[in-house]
Amino acid sequence: MSNEAVIQHGAGTHEVHGDHHEGHHHHETFITKYVFSQDHKMIAKQFLITGIIWALIGGAMSVLFRIQLGYPEATLPWLEDIFGHWAKDGRITPEFYYALGTMHGTILVFFVLTAGLTGTFANLLIPFQVGARDMASPFMNMLSYWFFVLSSVIMLSSLFVQTGPASGGWTVYPPLSALGDATQGSKIGMDLWLISMAMFVVSSLLGGVNYISTILNLRTKGMTMTRMPLTVWAILFTALLGLLSFPVLLSGFILLLFDRHLGTSFYLSDIVLAGNILPNEGGSAILYQHLFWFLGHPEVYIIILPTMGLVSEVMSVNARKPVFGYMAMIASMFAIALLAFLVWAHHMFVTGMNPFLGSVFVLLTLLIAVPSAIKVFNWLTTLWRGNLHLTPAMMFCIGFVSMFISGGLTGIWLGNSTLDLHLHDTYFVIGHFHIVMGVSAFMGMFAGIYHWFPKMYGRYMNNTLGYIHFWITMVCAYVIFWPMHYEGFAGMPRRYYDYSNWESFKQFVELNKVISFAAILSFLVQILFVFNFFYSIFKGRKVTTKNPWKSNTLEWTTPINPGHGNWPGEIPEVYRWAYDYGKDGVDHIDQITPIGENESKEGH
């Protein structure tokens, strides 16, 4: 590949730009700087702040349905004051409960942990860490954000329609989601959901194409693929996953729209609904599940891979030690990305699928545990004999690994079809995936936010609040999700509004109170974090040195508040990998330092 040429070309055209930047060549208005910005740093911040707003909304929803689950008998008049007939007599209605759960899932999975997470760190870190002035296509990048906003606005509007938002679960399985008469949420709310998600897919694809082309084409001189920080590798795999699987999801959604409005029968067959015999014949409700999970499963890796990258990087910096097994880390991410496409049907073991087909998916699913195990052991070895700087970011890295272990191991349970027969759709599943892709991903994201906040805003976040945030989050996460596995062992189904009429599941009243209490507490602590975030943007302690964490990667060679184009002069050239920490007794050697004459050959 003619890397050189591309880089020189890229650098050449931008340099003019960069040189003039110090002057007043650029006429930036408020609109071009803060709203329709094409600067990767600003777009990253836009994604992050939009993601935070969504996280607060989605988190608040979980608080509401936890109130129902923890205190099903309680009447809380203030609920009716706010939500009107959705909380008649101060009690959340079943319609409201299911809408809350559905929206909580949709918002957290897609809007926060996909757009909010990848959108933030891909935009922030790719140009910074590969040494580029900006994304390959800043305009597409801007579109990607604004399609996300459009998608957000549509989703938000669905919360306010008369019949309420989608309420069939975040996976919106037909026929429930296809038939407005089956549930209120499948009326106009479902259409808005589908249109919003279609816009979301557009946003994802625009972003993904950009991330991939920037990583492949705009690396600075000397930045070979195997010198890239693991963050960039992780984002590359994430973008590839999204690019290949989101279109399949979109196709599934389009067929669903057809079934809803054009009288087709892709997913519908032999249905009698409330006494009405529907004409649809020959469709398969299971087809939708295949299309959905063909994205749906890669989606969990789209969520977790970027945080794996963030954690690897932040952990290495704060352990003052190279990440252990750099190549193995890349190889295992590659293996995870590849296998991610071959395991989707493990969500469907109990749909009546062919048992032989099921067994293939068992094998492939459990195979993913191997690269995951490699990563865990590599992180542990990275900590081993390090010199750990326990900054809030580092604390969240350790929390991430703990959560990833806990949630990963229960994945081995559920991936085994024999156990899935018993545990499928019980609270065991809720515990499993919240720990492994909810809490883990948030921990990785927090690590990234605390670590790169100084680069984003030129200020630090408050440390003490960071530690409080970490510890309460960590403890609450386990208090909330660990006992849920026991509810799963009782066979307690998920998505139940009330368990009191069930002889088999009514014994967890006290436990559900405890879980709800911990959920509310952890939500309050997240508000504290958000407060810390916004307060620190304006009032945080100022960063006084270019490289506050003594890190090796390129973003810390830019000015404290980098302008458009990132580096004032030429883009620096790279001579080594990003993880020379503690080499030959030297604390750190950044990537732009040429290999010394007497340097040992060890390392990468």
């Binding site: 030690k321 750099y326 009546g352 067994s359 068992v362 700087h389 018993h422 510890w471 960590m474 066979g491």
Partner: protein
Amino acid sequence: MTWTEYFVIIIVALIFIVVFQIAKASEYVSVLKGEKKAFQQNNRINAFLMLVFLVLGLAAAWWCNSLLYDKTLLGVPAASDHGEEIDNMMWITLYITGFVFVITQVLLFWFAYRYQTTETRKVHYYPHNNKLELLWTVVPAIALTVLVAFGLYYWYRITGEAPKEAMEVEVTGHQFGWEYRYPGKDSILGRQNYKLVDAAKQNPLGQDWADVANHDDLHPSELHLVVNRPVKLIIRSQDVIHDVGLPHFRLKMDAVPGIPTTMWFTPKITTAEMRKITGNENFVYEIACDQMCGNGHYSMKGIIVVETQEEFDKWMAEQKPQYNLAKPEVASKAAPGAENNKDLVLAQ
């Protein structure tokens, strides 16, 4: 809103402000003390807390187990032969994953404590070690092979063909309840077509009355099974996807409109025996819908009674074919017995 609610909000807000002020003050203190000193102090405190978290966390896990164990099915024997196998699989998996869990969590938090930064600590530059990496590729691979092997062995036994002597029962889900159909004396479930469903005409399952096999099909309100006799459920749905969830039998199967599914097992413990085992007089086997099916999902319950052959026969004798309800004028003329029914239909 009531005064208590305002009060709670005010309290929470006050706590926020206090925490925030403390945090801000601690930042000033750290500037006064020198950033380095504050950094070291933070490290020491948090490294220690890591260790505390590990110890208390493991203790809490133990405590949680002792509190909740009896509320789960872990100590309750599986009520079906397949369930016993699933329980075996669960314990095998628990031992392997539990072992890995403890080792890795202990190492993680111990390292976090042990290698906290100090003035003198020299890091060990250790970028990779192929042997180690190979080791922790191969060992998990072997462990997982064991799990896959056991899992698939059981999986094929559970999902294999039902034995010939198995009793067939049809279970149909709809928003929000279950219907059961027994084949009657001829042991054949009659033909069905969803377009014939008509609850007003006593035909909620769309039985095709032109098919004689339907005339003795029974339609009771509970699902009765015979202990130690294999049963094959034919599972249907009339509207959206439901799921026949049988926690005590450890089994589950979706009910999909247009695509009937099956599931078979042999009940091992009668309802009466299970009441003794669990010490719960009100114990019943419940069918829980395990697939989100609408606003009444949480109330979609069915009851299974497992009983001896005698009890079952007695109960069965009390049931009347649905045909009698749907076509009382025809059925009442006919003497009981399939042959007569057949003649009648032919005459029509």
